[in-house]
């Protein structure tokens, strides 16, 4: 199966500030990738570079083996994109936008459009300039879904949606995910949403991936270990894959990535301590990995 997106040593700089540094990744059909990261981690820059809006400072971003900055109309028709802030025309109504987009899309699922307009309560006769942010967000998502793209890229799509609309949108993503020929990349701050729909996680920290892989693997590989020993712990412990530590006298709380039973045995033996291992939720993992 060929990759929709391939990134090789991707770098992006803006006037001496490095926003992306050496990103390597591939996106395969069937993958739903959640892009996580703190504000300013480089999520929007990464998504926009994947889409070819800007040129990489080094490395390459390819869409179906084509240079992302050089893609033609045929490739664009295979992609759906929702920017962080909508860029719709304020004087046009929702209906006007749909008509215009429909005229330029060779493929158009009208029944999906009708269904989502009714379910998401998107006003069709109000100019978008007079819509609420959430309504515009829903319209933007609809415009990105209507031509059933093979690759859907969404930059914080649920930020302005109410909980009901968010659930409906996530259900739509689940439906898309069920189609093994399509891929989704979406950035978000709402980590609980990721656990509902994503099967892959890209965690971006200071322009580089802090984690890149399956969601289940991530949850199984990060563990918080509480040690209670008879003697005092040293002020600082040094272990491979240790990402966080809190030490108070004879009690230590350590967070590891790449956790394994062998590591548990090693700790027990080394400190002669009582050990308690706790697997974390994605939100806790995110907080541990982004101190």
């Amino acid at each position: 199966m060929s990759a929709c997106v391939s990134l090789k040593n991707l770098q992006r700089q803006f006037s001496r500030v490095t926003v992306l540094q050496g990103i390597n990744a591939e996106v395969l059909p069937g993958q739903v990738i959640a892009l996580l990261g703190k504000n300013g981690a480089g999520k929007t820059t990464l998504l926009e570079t994947i889409l070819g809006f800007g040129f990489p400072s080094a490395g390459e971003a390819r869409l179906w083996q084509l240079d992302a900055t050089q893609i033609a109309n045929e490739t664009k028709q295979r992609i759906g994109f929702v920017p962080q802030q909508d860029e719709l025309l304020p004087s046009l109504t929702g209906g006007d936008h749909l008509k215009l987009f429909k005229s330029f899309r060779p493929r158009w699922n009208q029944s999906l459009v009708d269904k989502l307009v009714a379910e998401w309560l998107i006003p069709m006769t109000i100019p978008t300039g007079k819509m609420s942010v959430g309504q515009r967000q829903k319209l933007s998502i609809l415009l990105a879904l209507a031509h059933e793209p093979e690759l859907l890229i969404l930059d914080e799509p649920v930020a302005s949606l109410d909980p009901i609309a968010r659930r409906q949108f996530l259900q739509q993503l689940v439906d898309i995910a069920a189609d093994e020929n399509r891929a989704v990349i979406f950035s978000t701050h709402i980590v609980s949403d990721v656990e509902r729909v994503a099967n892959q996680v890209w965690m971006l920290r200071e322009g580089a991936f802090a984690y890149q892989g399956g969601l289940d693997e991530l949850k199984e590989s990060v563990a918080r270990v509480t040690l209670l020993a008879a003697e005092k712990f040293p002020e600082k412990l040094d272990f491979p894959d240790l990402i966080n530590q809190k030490i108070q006298a004879n009690s230590a709380q350590l967070t590891f990535i790449n956790w394994s039973a062998a590591r548990e045995q090693q700790l027990t033996n080394q400190f002669a301590a009582q050990i308690d291992v706790q697997y974390l939720s994605l939100e806790d993992i995110f907080l541990e990995m982004n101190p």
């Binding site: 889409l51 920017p83 025309l89 004087s91 046009l92 215009l100 300039g129």
Partner: protein, 457 residues
């Protein structure tokens, strides 16, 4: 894609480009509703309705002409539309087609008016070149500095004034006009195809009024931020929305003065083309409007920020009224005085007393009275409308236009010199002073139960 599909795409794009807002669509419908019966009536010898329809059609195409560059930039720079299709070529050809048709239509209208029996070909060539120049400037300037688009008509106007004495409609120039037009469109095409938008350039003319005001406030805030410095008091800075320190005041007033002088220079350049008495009238109107606008800008900040004083100051409700009165008049006077002083010097040394002393003083006085009345009317709007900014921006201009109408009727500012004949001047300013005092009494009587609001757009 088949021909029907392409036609469908172009049809939708044309609608989006040329009729992007409801008011333009309604104007289009209205124009047709006047033009069609006008054409029928013209057939029976009644031409007035057709003339009216033609006037509306000119208004319509000029309005559309103003909207088209903004729509081009918005469609091209929106990331969502970039992923819909490559719109560069269709947008360019629609714009080219529209402006060609617009210049053709304008030329036919001008030729039919036939004031000096100019040739259609020279009018067509000149109109096409002028419109192309304006259109290209709008698009190119707007793509880099959107707010600078407002200066394009001014620039084209200066160009026109500069060429006033040459024989613009000479048949000998036709070839040059077409050559310049072709070069402009060629340059525009090359630039347009290569241009990489850095951000979404929203078309301000299609924004709803409330959003437009919000953006305008942001722009003003961005400019005032440049002139910021250490604040003197918390209440004063919160109320004005900018630092109230002396250093910030100096920076701001220096900027205002430069702006005032630049506009004055332009006025005087223009005034050279017209008789001296008209020049004196224009300068007095300019100074008067300048004062009113300064007052308006100061008050708008107060209107937006008034609610902050309640929680961030130690003043009671009535003390807040006294405080904002004091601040408003202090800021207004400290804003007018530097400009007035510089103007007095320019008027005496460079303009040979174009504006007499008494008249100049009266202009300042009447401007100050207008601003004072607007202040109290504005406060009444705040109280009665729950701080509706939209209503404020309707009521104050209506009040001011009504008063200006009375000034026109009484020949004030452009009539006899008040040094010689001052009865109407005294009546008018006396009445204005009374109105201002009444406004103050009214505001004070209801201020004790005022509700403070975060401003609605």
């Amino acid at each position: 894609m088949n021909a029907q599909g392409i036609l469908n795409q172009y049809w939708h794009l044309i609608l989006v480009m040329l009729l992007p807002a409801r008011y333009v669509k309604w104007l289009g419908v209205f124009t047709l509703a006047v033009l069609i019966p006008g054409a029928i009536l013209n057939f029976f010898g009644y031409s007035i309705v057709l003339h009216l329809g033609s006037a509306f059609s000119l208004l319509l195409i000029m309005m559309v002409g103003m909207l088209v560059p903004g729509q081009m930039l918005a469609l091209r720079s929106s990331k969502q539309f970039q992923y819909m299709a490559d719109l560069r070529y269709p947008l360019f050809f629609i714009a080219l087609g529209f402006w060609s048709l617009e210049s053709f239509w304008l030329s036919i209208t001008l030729t039919l008016l036939n004031p000096k029996e100019f040739s259609f070909y020279s009018i067509f060539a000149l109109t096409t070149m002028a419109l192309t120049c304006a259109a290209v400037l709008f698009a190119v300037v707007g793509s880099y500095i959107q707010t600078a688009q407002g200066f394009v008509p001014l620039f084209v106007w200066i160009l026109f004034l500069s060429a006033k004495n040459t024989d613009l409609l000479s048949v000998a120039n036709i070839g040059i006009y077409w050559l310049v037009t072709a070069l402009l469109w060629l340059g525009m095409f090359v630039w347009w195809v290569r241009w990489q938008p850095q951000k979404y350039l929203i078309n301000f003319m299609t924004l709803p009024a409330a959003e437009m005001q919000r953006q305008q406030a942001n722009n003003v805030q961005a400019i005032t931020n440049v002139f910021s410095a250490v604040p003197k008091t918390l209440a004063g800075s919160l109320l004005a929305g900018v630092s109230d320190g002396i250093q910030a005041w100096c920076k701001r007033e220096l900027g205002q003065l430069v702006f005032f002088l630049l506009l004055l220079m332009f006025m005087l350049y223009w005034a050279r083309q017209i008789p001296a008495n008209a020049a004196s009238m224009m300068v007095s109107i300019y100074v008067f409007i300048y004062i009113c606008i300064r007052g308006g800008i100061i008050f708008q900040s107060f209107f937006r920020n008034l609610y902050r004083l309640w929680i961030n100051s130690s003043y009671s409700r009535l003390e807040i009224l006294t405080y904002i009165e004091r601040r408003y008049f202090f800021m207004l006077v400290s804003s007018i005085v530097p400009v007035a002083l510089v103007f007095v010097l320019i008027n005496h040394y460079l303009l040979n007393d174009l504006l007499g002393l008494i008249k100049g003083a009266y202009v300042l006085f009447i401007g100050f009275l207008f601003s004072s009345l607007a202040f109290y009317v504005g406060l009444l709007v705040y109280i009665k409308s729950a701080a509706s900014f939209v209503l404020l921006n309707w009521i104050i201009p209506i009040v001011n236009l009504g008063l200006i109408g009375i000034m026109v009727y009484l020949n004030i500012l452009w009539g006899p010199n008040p040094a010689h004949e001052h009865a109407s001047y005294l009546w008018f300013s006396g009445a204005l002073l009374m109105l201002t005092l009444l406004g103050r009494v009214w505001v004070k009587s209801i201020w004790k139960s005022v509700n403070f609001y975060g401003v609605k757009n």
